[in-house]
Symmetry: C2
Subunit: 564 residues, 2 copies
């Protein structure tokens, strides 16, 4: 066949292989070459923490097709008709001559190869802080197959007893779980005031409280120096002067897009440091596409450009780039709502859409609620979920959902992600028709219940107050009446201990005289999850009290110390 | 307080209590009375099979709030300010005088009580077939708490060894699981040609194949007679004359709406035998609402009226009726997309939106695909899901999804239910931004992969053929070339044995000469899940073959016998 397009893909991790495979399906006869700087192809890099953590033992599972074939150059040639050149770095994109220069990092061989269309999928590199001692042995990231092998060997050897993880983002927390499961005593160090910065403060605090049952967690404190002996790490000194002995430090303070090639070739780079692409994943050069962690993409809710280095989006972007480089710009990748999830021990934690902070940045007027309730009936061993939902005050459109807990977080986020994708409003979700049977959900699914709470709040049926605001009022000594509406047995077991009065909901109608005489006094109601708290608030308001608020999320969502 | 509205609710199971509670929150001072014919209130009736099956032992868990308070009349009065009259049947609705007549079935006391607004939530009754012997001891349904207690006692006694379940719908299959877990040898008997009539044939057949590993399954055969000795069931005789010895028969052949009161009061009844309501859950009498299994509601996709006796919808309808009877018609229940799910042993099985049959009935032109692939990566112990997706041929709107298998079926259905709710198209779902991390999904979630397959089919990238059509062609001896593209090891382990040729995908480009010389000959490709089959089809078509089809769902979706 003559005059078939020549496609070059730079990058062989996620976006690159997907783009190459999609291009192949669009044209059986195109010449497709994929360059990969490292030795491995199509590594399931999101799976590294689970290999390190011992969820499985065979590293090849990270490199294989579902039927157990290693995705090496032989596989790519035989199964896909794609030339994959591993250990081969593209050193230059020559746009004028439409060719790339490359160098084999093992043999030293250099060469150049022409393209009709080029796809840049160079990914991102883990940041390493410019801190004294960073070159010591025992300091690593968890970004490459080699990193994973190194940490897995540490697990298998069992010699290292103490480690620190630097960075409380997704990768840091996943790494922390992995090393904890390897039997290593851990400290997680985060420079910022909270973990998982994409979450709002209270939810991040609940995560932190949970993680503290597994490891030390230090926030608002960074590493000032890595301390070594004989070239090996023995401790880290923090910015506050304290020292933590450790033989291992894993740095997980985010990634930055690999854009050197693109920049050198004069392609447009965005304000956030990623390659600029349009919705067709096309760069400022019409013959060059880009996909994956090296790009900036659009947040569909705020309309702003964002860096969203997630493996799922890399695949979707690669698919679009691969199709368009053969067919012209027929396919679009509209953007992201920045959905993210991670597992931490028995919990899931994640977000889709906007957090409160992001909604404020975007200048949106929003209403927020917290729903703490189980995912399934008690008799089917239902587990707690805490959801924080944001909706636009005027259009009532769903803006974002954060969810965490031992319950089925993934399903909740999937529902909200799809709802946001569909521009659904709170009112659309009130009567969602979701799959119900007791092994899978409550009769009113947690997501629908969240919509009900939001409707009630938007319609003025109750006014909410956050745990943080309550704590601040208590600390300031404000004159408020705090009403716990749980049962006496529950109260005896655990309570907030902030001066609250106990009146179980079943007694409230007959004990209204125990409420403040002053109907303008602020009353804050709550229970375990604030459902009974809500019922109490509605009741009290009906009796003429003017300042009644429900503490959202109840005791389950209280991020501070409690009395036991 | 004077002149407060008097609300009467007939029915205390699901829709009734929800309506009463919602009415209370709308008006703290309304007089609310709930009549319940039986002794129990707010029974979690969907949980009966799991009580019978031994998932939990305390029957009170079916009657309690999450904090363990039994929902009896005392609870309803204290916690909700609702008068609940149990064991009390409403015998007449007197619309002229706006009152109901009632009778206490224990004391015999009768009386009447006026209403301003009435909510009918009388539910449905399990059908019992008019078959000789139906009155024998040992024949039951699983609809009431008493039924559940009866069957649980059978489990605990351990004396009954053989049972039949009559009816292969949701309840029949859940009951079958429960009794199997009770150690009883079972036969499931279904009059129609397939189980779970809401599924399309092939998916129902896959369910049947799976269930046959647990119990006998008989289809296209009904019970002609219950045979007894000394008043006790000892066997059933089927319509084909065969007899099955059994000491227990559970009848689960559907339910019919309880509309006698409504009909006698002259309220409008729909063609399907349910009470007619508008979107506000208001009957033909503006002062009377109805909610739950006794009503007909609208299918949101087809626009047709349907009976949809599901516990989740009953709650949502009750909430709307409860709000409207206080506030006027401010709330709406738009209708259902008939989402349903059930657990059967290690599988989930369900549907949302339209099946193929329903889409045809609705006169819609649709495209269908099957996606058989795991829910998570292999290294995270991913489990198979089989999804059948339907989309409108013209608008490309998602019409329905059926899903089954050991994987996370509930999440898939929740995603599609929300997508249908949002009128999303296949193209909207191509780049859905769902929560991805290896413990929760593949990098390209199964639902997104289903959308990709649908796009590929709609755009003509491949043509599909169902397993049934392939089987029929083979049985007719049609001259077709069947190409299995798996590895030799997989082929050695299991194969269809329908005359197929094995050429592993990795060899196909170099062995094209083994394909038929006649480029117009029909070629059907497949693999385990038909991903490699799809790649092969694209490749072969590119070489000028004109009739290439992919067998959808691959070997995983093959509902017939296989060679081992």
């Amino acid at each position: 066949m003559e005059n078939q397009p020549r496609i070059i893909v730079i990058g062989g991790s996620a976006a690159g292989p997907k783009a190459a495979a999609r291009a192949r399906r669009m044209n059986e006869f195109a010449e497709i070459t994929m360059f990969q700087k490292g030795p491995d192809l199509s590594m399931a890099s999101c799976g590294f923490p689970y290999f390190v953590g011992g969820f499985f033992d065979d590293r090849n599972k990270l490199l294989c097709t579902p039927t157990g074939v290693v995705r090496d150059p032989v596989f790519y040639w035989n199964a896909k008709g794609i030339v994959a050149r591993t250990n081969t770095e593209v050193t230059k994109i020559d746009r004028k001559n439409k060719q790339v220069d490359f160098k084999n990092l093992v043999t030293g061989e250099t060469g150049s190869q022409p393209y009709d269309k080029l796809i840049i999928a160079t990914g991102a590199t883990a940041n390493k802080p410019p801190i004294p001692g960073i070159e010591l042995k025992g300091i690593t990231t968890l970004q490459s197959m080699q990193d994973a092998d190194y940490l897995r060997k540490i697990r298998d050897d069992g010699e290292i007893k103490k480690a620190v993880v630097i960075g409380g983002g997704l990768i840091g927390i996943e790494t922390m779980e992995a090393l904890h499961l390897a039997g290593i005593e851990l400290t997680l160090i985060e420079l910022l005031p909270q973990l998982l910065m994409f979450l709002d403060w209270k939810l991040a605090k609940l995560v932190e409280n949970y993680l503290k049952s597994k490891a030390q967690v230090v926030t608002q404190n960074g590493v000032a120096e890595f301390i070594g002996e004989n070239g090996k790490l023995v401790a880290v000194r923090l910015q506050d002067g304290s020292e933590i002995p450790c033989q291992l430090a894993v740095v997980a303070i985010g990634v930055r897009p690999n854009i050197e090639l693109a920049r050198a070739a004069g392609l447009e780079i965005g304000d956030l440091g990623g390659i600029t692409v349009n919705e067709h994943m096309q760069t400022s050069d019409p013959d060059i596409y880009a996909a994956g962690d090296c790009c900036e993409i659009t947040n569909l809710i705020s309309g702003k450009k964002v860096l969203a280095p997630y493996g799922d989006l890399a695949n979707l972007e690669g698919r679009v780039a691969g199709e368009n480089c053969i067919k012209g710009n027929v396919a679009s990748f509209p953007g992201t709502i920045q959905t993210g999830i991670c597992k931490l021990f028995d919990w899931g934690v994640g977000i889709t859409g906007l957090s409160e902070e992001k909604a404020e940045e975007a200048g949106l007027e929003y209403v927020k609620i917290v729903n703490a309730s189980p995912d399934k009936p008690g008799f089917m061993d239902g587990k707690l979920l805490i959801t924080k939902l944001l909706a636009d005050k005027n259009s009532r459109r769903i803006l974002g959902a954060q969810c965490l807990g031992p319950g089925d977080v993934a399903k909740q986020l999937a529902i909200w992600a799809t709802a946001i994708k569909g521009n659904l409003t709170v009112d659309d979700m009130l009567n969602a028709d979701l799959p119900y049977a007791p092994p899978f959900s409550l009769a009113i699914d947690h997501s629908i219940a969240s919509a009900h709470i939001m409707q009630n709040k938007m319609n003025g049926l109750f006014e909410g107050i956050s745990a943080l605001e309550v704590k601040e009022k208590v600390d300031r000594g404000e004159d408020i009446f705090l009403l716990d509406t749980r049962g006496a047995d529950e109260f005896a077991e655990t309570r907030l201990g902030i001066g609250e009065t106990l009146i179980p909901i079943g007694w409230l109608r007959s004990r209204m005289d125990e409420l403040p005489k002053d109907k303008n006094k602020e009353i804050i109601t709550f229970c375990k999850i604030s459902l009974r708290g809500y019922e109490a608030a509605v009741l009290i308001k009906a009796h003429g009290y003017t300042k009644v608020k429900v503490m959202e999320g109840g005791i389950a969502g209280w991020p501070f110390e409690k009395e036991k």
